[in-house]
Subunit: 339 residues, 2 copies
DNA sequence: CTCCCGAATGTTATCGTTATCATTTGGTAT
DNA sequence: ATACCAAATGATAACGATAACATTCGGGAG
């Protein structure tokens, strides 16, 4: 059933007939190849206008055996963080004439794998994925088909193809060491459950290492349901243990941290004296706060830029570095005690 | 140049040969059609596994004359607002087996038009666009080709095909009337320049009407560069006139309003006594603030849900309502004076 | 006037799949 | 045994474009 009415579209053949030339001449004229006289080209383009002709990308992709499509896999759109990275890539990708097939995975590897299968049906020219932890099937398919693949946001010695990102373990460690030096001894972390977000897990590992080395209480991991960031922060604070309360809380990112801080203050706590608040990413929210939060700033835009550049290089046959590591910047703020 | 290595992928023919059946049997088995014995199906699927066969979507779309692709046009990803609407749609769209081809337009109609051309090459099954104000070429192409098209976020009597949204003029008016009743008489609006965001323009028109009817000062429109929302708010406040300063500022959305409020307080102003702050959309940030902002809450998630439902109905031949109007909710907060 | 050459144009096969219309097969009723 | 039927399977022609090769054409050199 459900044949959507009569969608009748002009084909290259229609154009050729009306313009009184061969298919190939139309094809050449439309694509701006040379070997067509100026007069003919004008005439053809005229007819193209009249008939509202749009070339069929499927036919083109079929005969040329790959398409001007790039698959893009993000965990979520509820996150300025990914928008930033995307912003860095978009121009570059667009100018090279590609379109983006986007999915959001909700940090679900299975879901990502399923989407990858769907995606590959379109014979994309390249694939961009978030992070370096994927379903084995995804890795093997992308590798096996030799599809240029960019993994962004995290680094590894053994990327599917190329990767550009930051070292989450090191970033977590550096942040932890800084906060530990300020005298905090009862750390907690608020974020997704272990296993959901591999990058969060790596940062937590860094934090744990930092605090363990100075013999503090072990880091308590508080789990919140994925949701709007600000609400997650609030929920995170509410979920803190009442007895033996942490003296500092690390949040998955700055927005969540802000939500947590608001909840803390509403509960009558003073930041940073009663409770230290630490974010991650150095989001712009932080720049408008009267008392900026302690956080670790990440080069999101640049990651996108560099990633896109490398991917395009890869697409044009030049081999870019497989593993590119960008630096983070510690941003001490006023939501942790001064030393 | 730049032939990306040897990407050699199994075709349906390879599977057929290895499984010792005809192409059609493979095709049927893979698609789960009936008319294939269980034994044969198992055998075929086995070979599919072995060869890592993925059907070619381009060939399929070519012969079937349309694809399981939906084009999605958003102004920007820097906005929880669109993420919310998307969230409402995604599941529905996904479960029906479609993939999304996404673009962001940066509120540029030309850019949108250019993308639409590119998109149509892929013969999408449907298109989703933000708002109801588009390039004439876009309207005529989508209509002419009879492509199921959903316009979301705004309403009009004459949508391209179907639309689901809110009445921005009415929402602006209601918000303006509320604030005027509180006694404010020198209103300003902070947002994109006129012409960039048609929905903002409509809301502003509503505000103007509300304030004009009670003989207040005319609404001053302050323009800020598109950017991160929080920074836009800050910039908006900085751009307010020093002499004859407004007594209330309407912001394009809650995040921008928050940025503006932070800047105001840093500048020594007291909210709401020295300056009223009004947002829009009822974003979740508002729910974690100790003193929630005055705002107009919009049914973003629901818009996505309803929109997707209508679009899928349209795709299966049922005619949904062309124009669906959802209600907003006024949320008086503590960033404007009490009556 | 003829030959030759490059530019402009045309012809044909092909890409991987599905729709449509055969054909085969195995079992059942007579 | 024979005829018949539905279920399973197969052969062939599209779909709309491009690559690769073939042809035409017009003009300058000899």
């Amino acid at each position: 059933m459900a044949k959507n009415s009569t969608v009748c579209r002009a084909t290259i053949k229609d154009v050729a007939e009306k313009a009184n030339v061969s298919l190939m001449t139309v094809s050449r004229a439309v694509r701006g190849l040379n070997g067509v006289s100026e007069t003919t080209r004008q005439c053809v383009l005229q007819v193209v206008q009249e008939l509202n002709y749009v070339p069929n990308g499927n036919a083109r992709a079929l005969v040329q055996a790959n398409s001007k499509l790039i698959g893009l896999s993000l965990p979520t759109l509820f996150n300025d963080v990914f928008a930033d990275a995307l912003l860095g890539m978009r121009r570059t990708i667009e100018q090279a004439g590609y379109s983006c097939l986007v999915q959001t995975t909700d940090y679900d590897t299975e879901r990502e794998a399923k989407w990858t299968d769907q995606l590959l049906e379109w014979r994309p020219a390249a694939v961009i994925m978030t992070g370096v932890d994927h379903h084995a099937r995804v890795r093997s398919k992308l590798r096996g088909d030799n599809i240029p693949t960019l993994e962004i946001w995290d680094v590894t010695d053994d990327p599917i193809d190329i990767c550009v990102g930051i070292d989450h373990l090191a970033a977590g460690h550096e942040l932890g060491v800084h906060v530990a030096q300020l005298g905090y001894r009862k750390p907690a972390f608020v974020g997704p459950p272990e296993g959901d977000d591999p990058r969060a897990d790596k940062r937590v590992a860094g934090l744990i290492r930092a605090f363990r080395s100075i013999g503090s209480d072990p880091l308590q991991r508080i789990t919140v349901e994925p949701n709007n960031a600000f609400l997650m922060g609030q929920q995170g604070f509410d979920a803190l243990p009442q007895t033996n309360r942490p003296d500092v809380v690390f949040f998955l990112n700055d927005h969540i941290a802000f939500g947590g801080m608001m909840a803390a203050e509403r509960a009558g706590l003073t930041v940073p004296n009663d409770l230290g608040i630490v974010g991650f990413n150095g989001l712009d929210l932080n720049h408008v706060l009267a008392r900026p939060m302690t956080t670790m700033s990440t080069p999101r835009r640049q990651m996108g830029l560099v990633g896109a550049r490398h991917l395009l290089a890869r697409l044009s046959g030049i081999a870019p570095p497989r593993n590119t590591h960008l630096p983070c910047t510690l941003c001490p703020g006023q939501t942790t005690r001064a030393q």
